[in-house]
């Protein structure tokens, strides 16, 4: 049995850990509110963008000559996967869930004999993937220095992706991120962004004949790169809300567990203290009796 002193030390150490997790939970809760707000505010932009593109692509008559970003290269030999994770740990299963989803996808691609290239956004994803897929990682990006998710960061990632596409380094691009549902639930998502999935019909898509200025092709070829950045930005927003949510519930659990542990240790401490007192009393009494 641990000595009284040891128990005392353990209790105080668990208590201070609890203080830290509690503080982290509060911080995460405050950040979550902000992240959630910006995720919601960001939605109209990406939805509108999507709608315009769907309207446009429905209007395109000549599929053969459509921009490559829309129709793809016609092959799917090389897959590029953009895995978005957080830069910080202590957020429960947040990163692991994305990685798990991504790994299943990677395996499928490799099994089919295709080439796999990976870009990691956020340092945690790189840490978890480098051991198995280290050779496949062609780029690692981290936005540790940016305080909030902003469009320019997303644009940077988007530009890298597009640059690589124009150099014909890959055929299909998929992004992985966590979609924020609520504080407890985040759903890992895979979303193909190149070529664009246009099978879903545009909302209120009508037989409207748009007037285009400049020509459709030019608009599309300008719009599609922007859409890539927008989709990535959306993913980043969802991701940051998910990260904070996940961290909040993880830290909530940790705080509760620490509380339980303190209770248990306190009982043990009281018992052994009582035992020591009883032992001392017995020694005194039996000493007195023997006189």
């Amino acid at each position: 049995m641990a000595s009284l002193d040891d128990l005392k030390k353990r209790i105080s150490s668990v208590k201070s850990t609890q203080k830290i997790t509690k503080a982290m939970k509060m911080v995460a809760a405050a950040k979550l509110r902000r992240a959630q707000e910006s995720a919601e505010k960001g939605r109209p932009y990406s939805e509108k963008m999507n709608n315009i593109i769907l309207n446009l692509s429905n209007g395109i008559s000549d599929i053969e000559n459509a921009p490559k970003l829309l129709s793809g290269t016609g092959e799917d030999k090389v897959h590029l996967c953009v895995v978005m994770t957080s830069d910080r740990g202590l957020c429960g299963g947040f990163n692991t869930n994305i990685i798990k989803k991504a790994k299943i996808f990677f395996q499928k691609i490799l099994d089919e004999g295709k080439t796999l290239k990976i870009i990691t956004v956020g340092s945690k994803g790189y840490d978890q993937l480098k051991r198995v897929y280290g050779d496949n990682i062609i780029e690692r990006i981290s936005f540790k220095d940016s305080k909030n998710v902003n469009y320019f960061d997303a644009d940077k990632v988007g530009k890298i992706v597009i640059e690589k596409f124009e150099k014909k380094e890959f055929d299909v691009c998929t992004i992985f991120y966590n979609q924020f549902k609520n504080v407890i639930t985040q759903i890992p998502q895979e979303q193909q962004i190149i070529p664009l999935n246009t099978s879903e019909k545009a909302e209120n898509s009508s037989e409207d004949n748009y007037e285009f200025e400049p020509e459709e092709d030019e608009i599309l070829s300008n719009l599609l790169p922007k859409n890539i950045s927008t989709q990535i930005f959306k993913a980043m927003l969802e991701n940051s809300a998910s990260e904070q949510g996940s961290r909040m519930s993880a830290m909530d659990n940790a705080t509760r567990n620490a509380g339980e542990m303190v209770d248990k240790l306190t009982i043990e401490y009281n018992r052994s203290r009582q035992a020591a007192i009883t032992k001392e009393l017995i020694e005194i009494i039996s000493g007195a009796e023997s006189l």
């Binding site: 910006s38 932009y45 997303a154």
Partner: protein, 130 residues
């Protein structure tokens, strides 16, 4: 008959502006300025750096945009832009910052003619504001 229609401006961070009492909007489209009145034909176009002017009964507002896409349909005008600034309470420092970054990019050698044109345009418009 009212001559008003609704306008929504969104940037990636949020819905920047939403109102339904505009009578005319003048946007700096790629091939020249377009003024849009009620019952305009459906149109999709691009913006180059410039000034958006919004007219309504209550007056006129102007905004600076870096780029953007407009869609007009069923008397709804949507403007998507990555950067928009209200000219009424403009931040001088921010303007200078944007101009500087544009000039920096312009000094790079490997930009295309189109980019160069857009950057030139941006600098010119920013100069005109100051």
């Amino acid at each position: 008959m009212s001559e008003e229609y609704s306008l929504e401006i969104v940037n990636p961070e949020k819905s920047f502006l939403s109102r339904d009492d505009v009578t005319e909007v003048v946007v700096p489209a790629y091939e020249g300025e377009i003024g849009i009145l009620k019952d305009h034909i459906s149109i999709i176009s691009f913006l180059k750096p410039g000034i958006i002017k919004i007219f309504s009964k209550s007056g006129e507002d102007s905004y600076y945009v870096n780029d953007g896409i407009i869609e007009f349909k069923n008397n709804n005008l949507s403007i998507l832009t990555s950067l928009i600034l209200d000219l009424k309470d403009i931040d001088k420092e921010k303007l200078i910052e944007i101009k500087k970054s544009a000039e920096e990019e312009l000094s790079k050698s490997e930009i295309s003619d189109q980019e160069k044109y857009l950057l030139d345009q941006r600098i010119e418009v920013l100069k005109s504001i100051n």
